[in-house]
């Protein structure tokens, strides 16, 4: 058994994190959260979560950065938007999950070889490279990055997909890929300028 202190001291909180979350897209109304729990109740995945969405919202807005960013909750969220629709205070809970995921990726708050953030990173790389997603290649990339041995379990499915013509390896791409790259680079440049 491992003994862990469950209550935090005031000084252990991160006020800058609380400030950040209330300035993210969707976080502007986080202070209005009633802790009613409709987000958790409507979430089809909350039964797998370490912190339900209601608890995660509270942890984030009170500045418990470590807990929020290392929680399983943000990765379990599939963006089904049930919480966002049900929230009586119109808090965009799904967008908060996105903001937390992006921050967790930036600060590497996830275990090595964890497939969900690896998928997000591989996805963004593929867009930057080709402008479109080739599903088969994306899936292979994620398996290479995470757990190659698990591919064996998918061989049966792969055969079925091949047989029905649904597994294509030819790379899908836009023809003016330079536009997509310039677009993404410009977003970064303007954002940096605005931050100054």
């Amino acid at each position: 058994m491992e003994l862990k202190r469950v209550v935090k001291f005031e000084a252990e909180r991160d006020p800058a994190f609380a400030d950040w979350i209330s300035h993210t897209v969707g976080g502007e109304r986080i202070r209005h959260c009633l802790q009613c729990g409709l987000c958790s109740g409507s979430c089809p995945l909350s039964l797998w979560m370490d912190y339900t969405p209601r608890r995660l919202l509270l942890l984030s807005r009170e500045g418990f950065k470590e807990e929020a960013l290392s929680s399983y909750t943000i990765w379990l969220c599939t963006s089904c938007y049930a919480c966002t629709v049900e929230c009586p205070k119109n808090i965009k809970v799904t967008d908060l999950m996105y903001a937390l995921k992006a921050r967790a990726i930036q600060e590497r708050f996830y275990p090595k070889r964890f497939a969900i953030p690896e998928l997000a990173c591989a996805f963004s790389r593929m867009i930057r490279g080709s402008g479109r997603i080739t599903e088969s290649r994306l899936v292979l990339q994620v398996f290479f990055k995470t757990a190659l041995w698990r591919l064996i379990g998918f061989s049966n499915l792969g055969v079925k997909l091949l047989r029905t013509g649904r597994l294509r390896f030819v790379r899908e791409r836009v023809s003016r890929q330079n536009e997509v790259v310039a677009l993404l680079n410009d977003v970064e440049a303007t954002r940096k300028e605005l931050a100054r």
Binding site: T78, S79, V85, S124, I133, E172, L183, L184, V187
Partner: protein, 290 residues
């Protein structure tokens, strides 16, 4: 009527049958489609986890290109449909996002106008074509085939643009007009687990199993879907999920069922791409097909 068509990445991969049947249905109804010039990925939900503002810019490139055409933009994939709408709303609602996206569009020489009307095929078929016109096209009625209509998340949430968010019925009405019988399916807008069958298998499989079991319990002989990811999850992992439940029902796109009823040959409706043959059910219900 003419629409700009945004296929999205999945319809060129695992969701090919969706594209094939959709094009067949539109052709039968005399609706013209023109593929969006040099479209890029909408960003889907995955890019939003990586960087939200970049994902709006990606969607905006498509929207700007589409606005230039002057026609409504049809997005059949649920994730594309949502990502395109969301970008429009957030560019409108957050001045700082607009500033970034406008600047990026300027840089690549595209107009800032991204106001094109984004439409789902369900919306177009129900509201532009109408049930009466659909009924006149039915040559091979579905003879009371019992269907669970599965909408999934993203065409009804977070925005309710053409249907009810908690109990959508647009697909029900279209398929009823083709002679199908819609069974009660309270899980019709619950999440399929998205990509979690690949990333957290036990979680994804649990979702898929519950959705399939609910449809079977309601008496469904097939499930009709509108989203490539929902269709893929339910079909590809049905065998694995049914260890506990023992079911094996075909999962089709709603456009495939419309195409069948319109007398489109099975192959043109992408039926041969199903893992589970629909022929036993068609024979049992004495449904003729071309």
């Amino acid at each position: 009527m003419k629409y700009t068509y945004y296929p999205g990445c999945s319809l060129r991969g695992t969701g090919r049958a969706y594209e094939e049947s959709l094009l067949a249905v539109f052709r039968e109804l005399g609706l013209e489609l023109e593929e969006l010039d040099d479209w890029n990925c909408c960003g889907a939900t995955t890019y939003m986890s990586y960087d939200e503002v970049q994902s709006y810019a990606l969607a905006a490139r498509n929207l700007s290109l589409a606005t230039k055409t002057g026609n409504d933009l049809m997005a059949p994939c649920a994730a594309c449909y949502l990502a395109l709408h969301k970008a429009q709303y957030y560019v409108r609602d957050y001045p700082w996002i607009r500033q970034i996206v406008d600047h990026a569009l300027d840089t690549i020489g595209l107009p800032r106008d991204i106001s094109v009307k984004v439409r789902h095929p369900l919306d177009i078929l129900l509201n532009d074509v109408g049930l009466d016109a659909i009924k006149t096209k039915v040559t091979h009625p579905l003879n009371g085939l019992k269907l669970a209509t599965y909408y999934g998340c993203q065409i009804v949430r977070p925005y309710a643009l053409f249907d009810d968010q908690r109990n959508p019925t647009s697909m029900d009405r279209l398929l009823e007009a083709c002679g199908a019988k819609i069974v009660p399916y309270p899980l019709k807008t619950q999440c399929c687990g998205g990509s979690q069958k690949g990333t957290l298998p036990e979680v994804g499989l649990d979702r898929i199993g519950r959705l399939l079991a609910g449809a079977v319990r309601g008496g469904a002989e097939m499930i009709a879907t509108v989203c490539p990811l929902c269709q893929f999850n339910l079909e590809a992992f049905e065998e694995e999920a049914s260890n506990a439940h023992q079911f094996r029902i075909p999962i089709l796109y709603f456009t495939q069922l419309l195409a069948l009823a319109f007398g489109v040959p099975l192959k043109e409706a992408g039926i041969q791409r199903s893992f589970i043959s629909i022929k036993p059910v068609l024979a049992e219900k004495e449904i003729a097909y071309a």
